[in-house]
């Protein structure tokens, strides 16, 4: 793993958690969506916080795709799980939500899980013939 690759992983964490926080703030402004009027979710797209959140999540998507181009999904997912901590911190300091000690313990378990997996190799090497999935004939 080079410095560039670590920076890609960090940008996945940053854009993902900040984007989620913007979306959450926007949805608080929009209010609860009635189960019988789910199409009202599209009205949330006019909220500035939701719009900014979507831009952050687009940046997240491009860095996430870049990360998946050089590492396994089962490496990228846990390696970026530090975003749970960022999300809880944003919940406390920006959204003023209450986070109990039990939830903090949950975050700790998730982070330990990340630590366990992060020490392994980032990529499973496949012989070229094994890579294509059954029924999928597409060639990149």
């Amino acid at each position: 793993m080079t410095l560039r690759k670590y920076l890609v992983i960090l940008s996945v964490v940053f854009f993902g958690s900040v984007g989620d926080a913007f979306l959450a703030r926007g949805m608080k402004h929009t209010g609860a969506i009635d189960i019988h009027h789910l199409s009202n979710v599209f009205t949330a797209l006019a909220n500035p916080f939701v719009i900014v959140g979507i831009f952050f999540l687009l940046a997240f998507m491009s860095s996430y795709m870049t990360a998946l181009s050089f590492a396994d999904l089962t490496y990228v997912m846990p390696a970026t799980a530090i975003s749970y901590v960022v999300m809880v911190l944003l919940s406390i300091f920006w959204l003023h939500e209450h986070v109990s000690p039990q939830r903090w313990a949950g975050v700790a378990f998730i982070v330990i899980g990340v630590g366990v997996v992060a020490g392994g190799p980032s990529r499973t090497e496949h012989p070229a013939a094994q890579v294509p999935a059954r029924g999928l004939k597409e060639r990149a």
């Binding site: 560039r4 690759k5 989620d20 979306l23 959450a24 949805m27 608080k28 929009t30 209010g31 609860a32 969506i33 189960i35 979710v41 949330a44 939701v50 998507m61 996430y64 795709m65 870049t66 998946l68 181009s69 050089f70 396994d72 999904l73 089962t74 990228v76 997912m77 846990p78 799980a81 975003s83 749970y84 999300m87 809880v88 919940s91 959204l95 986070v99 109990s100 039990q102 939830r103 313990a105 949950g106 975050v107 700790a108 378990f109 998730i110 330990i112 899980g113 366990v116 997996v117 020490g119 392994g120 190799p121 499973t124 496949h126 094994q130 890579v131 999935a133 999928l136 597409e138 990149a140």
Partner: protein, 127 residues
């Protein structure tokens, strides 16, 4: 009742996000390292390869469903519940998807990490 709908949203988010992640991972594996492609063929080659991948668009479609489901869930419950619950459960389903569909080497270390994440989710959501 709202708790039931929240969990329905989390379940929908988890399933569609996992399908999206597995498809996007498959597409990016076939496309190859974007850094290498940019060095050898330039930035335009990345755009060309990414936008000509049907699997990638399939993955993005499922991710879009997950996005809207997550958005609805966030309007019913706190970010500190919906965010970690859906994301951590997606981690578990992704591990299964990666093992069986992408044939990744999900060894004992990665399964152990999955158990820790499951315990973390239980603590986060049942508090």
């Amino acid at each position: 009742m709202r708790t039931y709908y929240t969990w329905l949203c989390i379940f929908t988010t988890v399933c569609t996000a996992a399908a999206g992640d597995v498809l996007v991972a498959l597409a990016m594996r076939r496309i190859g390292d974007l850094g290498e492609i940019r060095r050898r063929h330039g930035f335009f080659a990345i755009i060309l390869r990414v936008f000509s991948s049907g699997i990638l668009f399939g993955g993005v479609f499922f991710m879009a469903i997950a996005f809207f489901s997550n958005l609805i869930g966030l309007s019913w419950a706190d970010l500190s519940v919906v965010g970690p619950a859906s994301a951590a459960l997606t981690f578990v389903t992704n591990a299964l998807g990666a093992r069986f569909f992408l044939h990744e080497n999900v060894d004992r270390r990665r399964w152990l990490a999955t158990i820790f994440v499951c315990l973390g989710v239980l603590l986060l959501t049942w508090s």
